[in-house]
């Protein structure tokens, strides 16, 4: 079974967000990690390979630093890496990224493609599903459990207030939700091996695309930061009278209850 895992390098969840002089998100000095939801995708891909054989190819789109994220996935046990990097991709929207990824995926044999259900930076939660539409395959999003027998896929996905079970035949695209598995840490031996694993780099031109092909459908007008919340008041006194006073304030002052 040949598996593609799409990963994105994102800011660390600890990162504080600031804007630079031109009003854009400032990436200077920010620690980068693999998008946490993509780690579940990597782990699931490796488990499928361990069970069924085949290869896991990790694909990412980003700048040169994204190589670190791919190397980490290779150290976990993926076999090959593909990085699509091009200055023109910086202004691409979700539609353009999906079109680019579809071209990159076409260069790798693939029965199943897995990615995280959402990237914690842009929070858009679109890429895997858009890609399924371009590649004309079914998608099952936000999965918590996966079983494959032969070419038949059964997945449990999270819905509001519960779960549903979906069946489809390969090829499919899946997006991983937290709970699918527990991602492994790279071993020292894995890190050493990862250095020798192949990592190919493609530009847009290598994929037969030009910047004009990716003219975005959406435009960002501006970025803002949330207004800082003011600390309110601490209610003094012992637990019981403080709780009584809190209930009174919520009822009479805040008028919420």
């Amino acid at each position: 079974m040949n598996i593609i895992v799409y990963i994105k390098q994102t800011f660390d969840t600890e990162a504080k967000i600031v804007l630079d002089g031109s009003g854009k998100i400032d990436a200077n000095g920010v620690n980068l990690i693999i998008n946490p939801y993509d780690e579940f995708a990597i782990e699931e891909g490796i488990r499928l390979k361990e069970k069924f054989g085949g290869e896991v190819t990790v694909v990412s789109i980003g700048g040169a630093r994204a190589q670190e994220a791919i190397r980490t996935a290779l150290a976990m046990g993926a076999d090959k890496g593909v990085l699509v990097t091009d200055p023109a991709l910086e202004s691409a929207d979700e539609w353009g990224i999906a079109e680019t990824l579809a071209k990159a995926a076409a260069k790798v044999p693939c029965d199943i493609l897995i990615t995280g259900r959402i990237a914690i930076d842009d929070g858009a939660s679109q890429l895997g599903i858009r890609l399924a539409e371009i590649l004309n395959v079914p998608s099952i999003s936000s999965i918590l459990k996966l079983d494959i027998e032969g070419t038949h896929v059964t997945a449990v996905r999270e819905i509001d207030g519960g779960t549903e079970t979906i069946e489809a035949d390969l090829p499919v695209i899946l997006t991983a939700q937290k709970g699918l598995n527990d991602p492994r840490y790279p071993s020292v031996a894995g890190i050493m091996k990862a250095k020798k694993k192949p990592l190919q780099t493609f530009s847009l031109a290598d994929l037969g695309l030009s910047a004009g092909d990716l003219a975005p459908k959406m435009s960002v007008q501006k970025y803002t930061l949330p207004e800082a919340r003011q600390a309110g008041r601490k209610i003094p006194g012992d637990a019981a009278p403080a709780a009584q006073e809190l209930a009174r304030l919520l009822h009479e002052e805040a008028k919420i209850l």
Partner: protein, 328 residues
């Protein structure tokens, strides 16, 4: 020329979901500003009765697609039907809730239509040049971006609890149009086998007006009963911090924060939660925050409107009794 603001109305067990009513309320305001008709599209089986609700909530026109194949949501069938209706009707904008269905459907529909998508929006304004500007949180609410669409139709999913519900006006009527469900065979490749909705009398975390949330200070899974007792007095949902979820005390579906759910209730009561930046990102846009924590230096107090420095095991039971007196 594109015309109309379309709301994809989500129903569950033949009841329109609250976020769809919020969108009809806000859509009505925008339609009045732009002069566009407000159109509700409802898919399902046996849905005739929902047209009057959509009309009372502001729709000028209701498109019903009633078919056994649409009784339960599936990505393929819903995309197939909506793609054709939208291509025929050519609306300016198509809006839906950022629910489990919206998150799954909107990207597929956007790609089939060849358009962009503003997902999980928490604000929407009319704009002379671009028709609509969407505000959406990025980095789980640590920043916002304002998006416009360069193409039509404009697609967006909107977070529940973003817009106020207008009071329904039963005297309003709407033109009702029934469309046949035209589903391509290729869109029936993924098959829904089973739906399991957990029996809970509590509201969904993302739609709740009040959330009572517990963190590391809960000390163990057995202690959540005291939060549940508090929640049930005031009709609240129960949430948890990542620390509590990673300790195995609560399932991930209860997690509030950057790698869990982002919520914006009217009231968020944080019990034994320190207030890590990832947690604040997930609940920082709550209208009102209450913190109960033993540690007077806990970061959560920096964002709380009211705080009690104390042991939650002493405070919460008293609070539950006091709330009973207020809400009875």
């Amino acid at each position: 020329m594109a015309k109309g603001i379309f709301i994809i109305v989500e129903q569950r067990n033949l009841e329109i979901r609250k976020v769809s009513l919020e969108l009809l309320s806000q859509g009505r305001k925008i339609a009045d500003q732009t002069g566009d008709p407000l159109v509700a599209i409802i898919l399902g089986q046996g849905i005739d009765g929902l047209a009057a609700t959509a009309a009372a909530s502001g729709a000028d026109k209701v498109i019903l697609v009633d078919d056994a194949k649409l009784a339960d949501y599936t990505t393929g069938a819903y995309t197939s039907v909506l793609n054709k209706i939208i291509r025929k009707e050519e609306p300016q904008a198509v809006l839906m809730g950022n629910t489990a269905i919206g998150k799954d459907l909107a990207p597929r529909l956007a790609q089939r239509l060849g358009v962009g998508l503003a997902s999980d929006c928490t604000g929407m304004e009319t704009d002379a040049a671009s028709f609509l500007v969407f505000k959406r949180p990025i980095y789980a609410g640590k920043a916002f971006e304002y998006l416009t669409s360069n193409v039509r139709p404009i697609l967006a999913t909107v977070r529940p609890n973003t817009f106020a519900l207008a009071a329904p006006d039963a005297s309003r009527s709407a033109e009702v149009v029934k469309e046949a469900a035209d589903i391509d065979a290729a869109d029936l490749r993924a098959i829904l086998k089973e739906v399991a909705i957990a029996a809970s009398k509590r509201p969904d975390l993302t739609e709740a007006n009040i959330i009572v949330s517990g963190g590391r200070g809960m000390k163990g899974p057995e202690n959540y009963v005291i939060l549940e007792a508090l929640a049930d007095v005031i009709g609240a949902a129960v949430g948890a911090s990542r620390a509590a979820v990673d300790s195995g005390w609560k399932e991930h579906k209860f997690q509030v924060g950057q790698t869990g759910k982002t919520v914006a209730p009217t009231l968020y009561i944080a019990c034994g939660i320190s207030g890590a930046i990832q947690h604040l990102a997930g609940m920082g846009s709550s209208k009102f925050i209450v913190a109960i924590n033993k540690d007077p230096e806990a970061n959560i107090f920096n964002v709380a409107d009211y705080g009690i420095v104390g042991d939650l095991f002493d405070v919460v039971p008293v609070l539950t009794e006091e709330f009973k007196k207020i809400v009875k």
